[in-house]
Amino acid sequence: MKILILGAGQVGSSAAYHLSREESNEVTVVDMRPEVLRELQDRLDIRTVVGHAAHPEVLDRAGANDADIVVALTDTDETNMVACQVAYTLFHTPTKIARIRAAEYMNAKNLFTQDAIPVDVRISPEQLVCEYVEQLILYPGASQVLDFAGGRVRLVGVKSDRDGLLVGQRIATLKEHIPNTEGRIAAIYRQGKAMLPEGDTVIQDGDEVFFIADRKDIRVFMSEMRRLEDPVRRVVIAGGGNIGLRLALALEQTNQVKIIERDQLRARQISEQLNKAIVLVGDAADEELLLEENIDNVDVFCALTNSEEANILSSMLAKRLGSQKVMALINRASYVDLVEAGSIDIAISPQQVTIGSLLAHVRRGDVVKVHSLRRGAAEAIEAIAHGKEGESKVVGRKIEDIDLPKGAAIVTLVRDGQVIIAHHDTVIQTDDHVILFLTDRRKIEKLEKLFQVGVSFV
């Protein structure tokens, strides 16, 4: 697939990285800064074009003429929108994805239509990150919570500990533990190595367990893996930027929210938008301020400023001062591993959160949702099985008869809004949403082929 990425910022670079790793993609990146592009081209097998992302001449040079997808990820919403418009009008690009930050644009009705601003998919990293953090706060103890099938099913990652009811026992006993629930363990990571669970796999202390369950059963499942934590009540957010503000707005009705912002003016601005949350002016790494605001009673401390170093340091400080749990927003992938081994409980990587929504549109076959896990090494995929029996490689077959690549497993099906946990003899029907877990990303092409329908259907 020929992909044009506009903007080589953090999201753009990581999109280029993830997309160019897949052999079938041809990626071209456009940016105004030659030095950034040169550095990118040294690392990745991509082509780069220097120029303004929305200018027709630049897009032409970048090969917009035969591009399948344009992904506009520059810093400015307006450039992104115009770039999509240009790609649509002049080059007839089939799929146009744009990053739109401002909620004002996102909320406007009838704006993003083919005869107005032709953006097929709008991505707002801030919103995605905010929703992501919200889920983590809703399910304390989880390291990742990801939606499938419109939120009906969720994939949850938890670190098991000795207090989990299932820890030390075979997975097959799960049914006896919690009889009336719908869910399944999708994968286990033990010391960084992936294993697809079998009936007699024993969960050990310290494993990272990914399970998929109906939304209502998630807490029950979590209690099987680790001691259930109390619901989060007190939240401190460091950084009143876009993400911080959104999160505060989302949480202030249900939780006690304090938000620390350095800039007086900005603090004033957000305080006007927030109703219940308390806005504090000051430095998030100021020990006095944190103590004064009872940091030792806080359930979650969430560092969401623009500077990742500041996030790391302030959350480490908060942890030492007694905050139950700390999260830090970290862009650089290498930092993520570094801090998660230390005192920071959860590192939030905006790229990883965003990349999934991009990947879903690049996949062949009808893929609704892709979540990138473990820095892109694994993927959870929701695909729709199309075609009739005989045309499709999955429809009408038992799961055990499907030729899945190694490291892939079908975990759950969603049929007409009903969650069906996949067993070896479950037969897949037309229009089922199939949720798969793939521990080896390199097998993705084989997986894609399964869900493509024979030519006769098209």
């Binding site: 990626v27 071209t28 040169r38 081209q41 040294d42 097998d45 090969g63």
Partner: protein, 483 residues
């Protein structure tokens, strides 16, 4: 340094290269010659060596880094020159010392075209074909070929590609994927070779000669299957075909690619380097023809023009085909031609030399200094076409130029120290470092009279010239090996 990766790729490349010793076997069978055995031996030896290198590390899955790229390319060309010599060394029909065999193989691969063989016309066809094929493989670059056909090189392919491709700006890709870019270049190259061979046949060559000469023409190599080179055919039509294809092969291949992709020739006329390249060849041909007329070297005006043009294009593009013994031409003409070979062809072509674009940039900088003297406070960027050239590139060009001169001087002094006269030394190094082929003085028809040390110096010159010096030079700097 990532030894396992370097070793794995080196092994892979050697195994791939071993396959290129099989076509001469087919040629031997076609012509019913007994000379196929050395090629099978060479094939076996190279394949075995590749396997021995590759097997212990074939599971290694690390990525190639920038530094490793240099090492792989430099090591590969050196090793390749050596293994490429195997069939020549084993052959019964010619007796070659190891030095001679390596010289011949390296001269082929680097598209130099200097030879230590005489009596080419009597040699078995398979050996003649093998020499031509070496040139053809070296022309577009055997590593570029490897990048095209070995998908597992991935990002590392880019590092290798950059270490092998000539020219100051190496980041421009024709397509997003390096594999696709390499493939595109080889398709263009292949198309040129076929067209050239067909044109030679139409011009009156036999198919074997046509194929062999097409190989060395588009590779800007200069090997021939006859002692008299292209002059053997004595045909104006053949000369013209050679001129056209030498000229085309000296153009940046990405221009050919664009012309083919967009079915238009406007990319040529818009390219500053191409215009300079064409201008240099036209002016040079004119000067040479005028000089020949003035001294009345040839009886007929037709001969004068065709020989003058042929030699001008052949030497200036660093091909090294001859239709006349240009070394005996009057006055400054031989040296003028030799100096033209320093400029060479365009970046991204199969030609050698410093490359037109670098010379153009240096020339423009010279002009800029003059303007600066008149307007001391003017801000004057160096421009190509309508685009300013980045400082880095301009810097790199200067660096390259000075190192080129230094290397030239060092090699020339070294070869003089083996006891050669000045004209021979100067032209021998110019002919090898620029990947030209024939020189002046003692080396005007070949390098067979040189002593072994002198041949090794020439071999070093050829390799340095083909890899544009830095790829090799970087390996002998302490910085490269420091962790």
């Amino acid at each position: 340094m990532n030894w396992t990766v370097v070793q794995r790729i080196l092994g892979l490349l050697l195994m791939m290269f071993s396959l290129t010793m099989l076509p001469p076997v087919i040629i031997a069978i076609i012509f019913d010659e007994a000379s196929w055995l050395p090629f099978v031996e060479g094939f076996g030896l190279t394949l075995a060596a590749g396997l021995v290198i590759w097997l212990p590390v074939h599971r290694s899955r690390k990525d190639l880094r920038l530094r490793d790229g240099f090492l792989v390319v430099a090591a590969f060309w050196t090793v390749l020159g050596t293994f490429g010599a195997a069939p020549l060394y084993f052959a019964d029909s010619i007796t070659m010392s190891l030095t001679d065999a390596i010289f011949e193989s390296m001269s082929g691969l680097t598209t130099t075209g200097a030879t230590v063989l005489t009596g080419l016309d009597e040699l078995p066809k398979s050996i003649l074909y093998y020499r031509q094929q070496l040139q053809w493989l070296g022309g577009m670059g055997i590593i570029v070929l490897a990048v095209a056909v070995l998908p597992m090189l991935g990002v590392g392919g880019m590092q290798l590609y950059r270490a092998e491709t000539p020219g100051p700006v190496k980041d421009t890709k024709l397509t997003p994927r390096i594999t696709e870019t390499a493939k595109a270049l080889w398709y263009v190259y292949l198309a040129f070779t076929i067209t050239c061979a067909v044109s030679y046949v139409i011009a009156g060559m036999g198919w074997f000669d046509a194929l062999c000469h097409a190989f060395s023409t588009v590779a800007i190599g200069g090997f021939s299957t006859h002692d008299m080179s292209i002059g053997y055919f004595g045909s104006t039509a053949v000369d013209l075909v050679a001129i056209v294809f030498m000229f085309a092969a000296g153009i940046n291949f990405s221009l050919h690619f664009y012309a083919w992709r967009y079915v238009s020739i406007k990319h040529y006329s818009q390219d500053t380097e191409f215009r300079a390249y064409a201008m240099i060849l036209i002016v040079l041909s004119f000067l040479v023809v005028a000089g020949l007329f003035y001294h009345q070297s040839y009886a007929s005006p037709g001969d004068t023009i065709i020989n003058g043009m042929f030699q001008a294009v052949s030497i200036a593009t660093t091909t090294g085909f001859t239709t006349a013994n240009y070394a005996s031409w009057p006055a400054a003409l031989p040296v003028l031609l030799l100096f033209a070979s320093f400029i060479g062809g365009s970046a991204g072509s199969t030609a050698g030399g410093i490359k037109v674009i670098r010379c153009l940039l240096i020339y423009k900088q010279g002009l800029r200094e003059i303007v600066r003297l008149v307007h001391p406070s003017a801000e004057i960027p160096v421009k190509l076409g309508n685009k300013a050239v980045q400082f880095r590139v301009v810097d790199a060009v200067w660096g390259f130029f000075s190192v080129y001169i230094v290397v030239f001087v060092v090699l020339m002094l070294a070869i003089m120290a083996t006891g050669l006269d000045q004209v021979t030394s100067f032209s021998a190094i110019a002919a090898t470092l620029n990947n030209l082929g024939p020189g002046l003085g003692d080396v005007s028809s070949g390098f067979m009279t040189l002593s072994d040390p002198a041949k090794w110096i020439a071999i070093a010159g050829m390799l340095l010239g083909r890899l544009e010096i830095f790829t090799l030079l970087v390996l002998i700097t302490p910085t490269f090996w420091r962790h």
